[in-house]
Symmetry: C2
Subunit: 384 residues, 2 copies
């Protein structure tokens, strides 16, 4: 008979706690019997585990359901409000932030416009205001903020440093994580914006459950995020998804087909130009339709390169232009069918401009899970 050592037993105990938390997260309040059934633990073991989790602050008892017959059963719920997370989207023209509980449910959102050529400190100040605004809206104290996850334009290195942004000149050689930590006393994560948007699609968007996804981050700038085997693919040097840097893929300047279209009224600010062309195309304007055709040709070429390389289950048309999916999706599908060996499903995002903040929240939730809810990390800490 193989021997069981002390280490094995305490590991088993930990596994039981984690199994219980996993069963409770996202679910409503559960009775002891329901919890025991879902975890496979015996009722006495389950009761002991629940008591421990209450002591640590992860779980609380809630009153029995109203109208329960007989002796009312205890019910337990995960304390998703024992801490808070913030997701930030640092774009060229906007800073967005969203506040969520530990389950990733979004409780408040803010947006701060910022000029493309704003100096570095101005952009950082806008980030601070966007995050603080979220906390105020959600009535959450800074001390209850556990983690901020930032999705940003530009190349990010493995340490979360912004190396370079083709679109925003001031956004380079920046220890963004360090600067964020000076503003807020909590953990800070930095990730590429398109990667986070891709993640959001698999968690709460149109690619839920898909393991291999190519996310097309289509808007005034073009980017791509990859999900491979259910995980965000970063690459060895965190430089994956940069197909727009290949001139032959014709992505970098693709939005110029829309911006420079003759239907755009003179004097239109550059950030609104593409919207005019897409709207005119929707109304059947032949000049606008031709411009959209040229744009989709270029979009499809880079997309086809990724589809042929990866053979994903789903391609998501996301980013700001996904609001014009009615105009873009048909021709995109046609072009991909012509170019690809096996045609993936092509779906339009419903997250629109919120894709990056939503993904940042999902990333923070994952990071939290990894830190707290994996047995390798040792026993669960107190929530404070």
């Amino acid at each position: 008979m193989a021997d069981l050592r002390g280490g094995d037993l305490s590991r088993l105990r930990q596994l039981n706690s984690l199994t219980a938390i996993r069963a409770l997260r996202g679910a409503g309040p559960l009775t002891l019997s329901a919890l025991a059934e879902r975890t496979g633990l015996s009722r006495p073991s389950m009761k002991e585990v629940a008591g421990e989790l209450i002591d640590l602050g992860w779980v609380e008892e809630v009153p029995p359901s109203p109208g329960t017959m007989g002796r009312p059963a205890r019910r337990y719920r995960f304390r998703a409000d024992s801490g808070y997370l913030v997701g930030v989207d640092v774009g060229g023209h906007n800073i967005r932030a969203a506040l969520s509980d530990l389950d990733g449910e979004i409780l408040a959102e803010t947006r701060q416009p910022v000029s493309l050529d704003a100096p570095l400190e101005e952009r950082l100040a806008a980030i601070e205001r966007a995050v603080s605004g979220c906390l105020t809206l959600g009535r959450v104290a800074v001390s209850d903020l556990w983690m901020i996850a930032v999705g940003t334009i530009g190349m990010i290195d493995v340490e979360g440093r912004v190396i370079y942004s083709a679109a925003v000149p001031s956004w380079r050689d920046l220890d963004l994580a360090g600067r964020m930590r000076e503003m807020f006393p909590c953990q800070v994560l930095i990730e590429n914006d398109s990667r986070l948007a891709a993640m959001a699609e698999t968690r709460r968007g149109v690619a839920q459950g898909a393991k291999d996804v190519v996310f097309l981050h289509v808007g005034r700038r073009m980017g791509a995020g990859l999900i491979i085997g259910g995980k965000v693919h970063r690459g060895f040097g965190a430089a994956a998804g940069e197909i727009s840097m290949l001139p032959e893929a014709r992505w970098f300047d693709a939005p110029e087909h829309l911006n420079g279209c003759a239907v755009v009224p003179e004097g239109t600010p550059p950030e609104d130009a593409a919207g005019f062309t897409l709207a005119a195309a929707r109304n059947g304007d032949p000049v606008a339709l031709e411009a959209v055709g040229r744009f989709v040709d270029d979009l499809a070429l880079g997309a086809a390169a990724m589809v042929l390389v990866l053979d994903p289950q789903v391609v998501v048309l996301g980013g700001g232009f996904s609001r014009s999916a009615d105009v873009l999706l048909g021709p995109l599908r046609e072009q991909l069918e012509r170019r690809c060996m096996r045609m993936p499903e092509v779906r339009a995002s419903t997250l629109g401009d919120e894709c990056v903040v939503a993904g940042a929240i999902d990333y923070a939730v994952d990071h939290l899970d990894e830190q707290l809810f994996t047995p390798e990390r040792g026993p669960l800490p107190l929530t404070r």
Copy 2:
């Protein structure tokens, strides 16, 4: 105290057996003490587990090391020869096969030339001869053959059916696994040849230990195999790596720069043409060097698309043309440096033409591990 059920205990026992086998595989014979140390089991538990594995035929005792002082210690080894595996490479012009033991060590190899336009049955007969030849060379009975893994040209679907091959007309709509099973009474696995070659590079080639690898299968036909997160990436419909199908990536016809070079003597068989050009380039012939330059330009474009999308740690120049790495590697690196955001390591394969059979063997070993040596599969079977 959390309760331990019977299921947990038998699972623990199984885990101990697997841990012991893993410690022994690939290692030389180990004493009980060495095994206990490597597995973390107590000596009495280890002895019991070893006894069970001997009964099942997975492990055997070997005589003590010669010259051991004092009471000689028992030693145990994994019985890698309790079964055999065959890897097959179905190429356009050659069928290769290799025989290995359960550790994946290659014991015998065969090659059968076959014409590109040979009828289907002729190609299948060549496969049968190549496999049988291996068994004969290795003095292994068909009944000791546990598994055949085939790497083949062409698109393979998730069931291992050959759908289509651009190069070999007869190679389509073929239940290759079924046909192989009619020839040999064992398990048969079918996989894309470039994917298996990529796998071999990470197991026994120049990409050992790398998690993200782009393998360039460069020869008379151009293919690519991807390793992502340490695993072969197949894609949702088993169609990953097909960058050569994108005309703008300029891969499909790239070898024509070498085949059609003026240095190739008239009347040279098409399969030898590129070799002449590469040899002339090695000797500094300017016409040949120009042709090689054009070939590498095209090779680098498709490779850069994959590097920008995936940001791999290593790019391997593999396949038949990797024998001319001295001529190709320099210009390939230069082109990639010009085109990529982050430059990966670029290494030349040392497996040459054996990359696919070696990968097929590695694939079979993995499959065996998955079938036998994972706790989810239940207790270990007898070796017969």
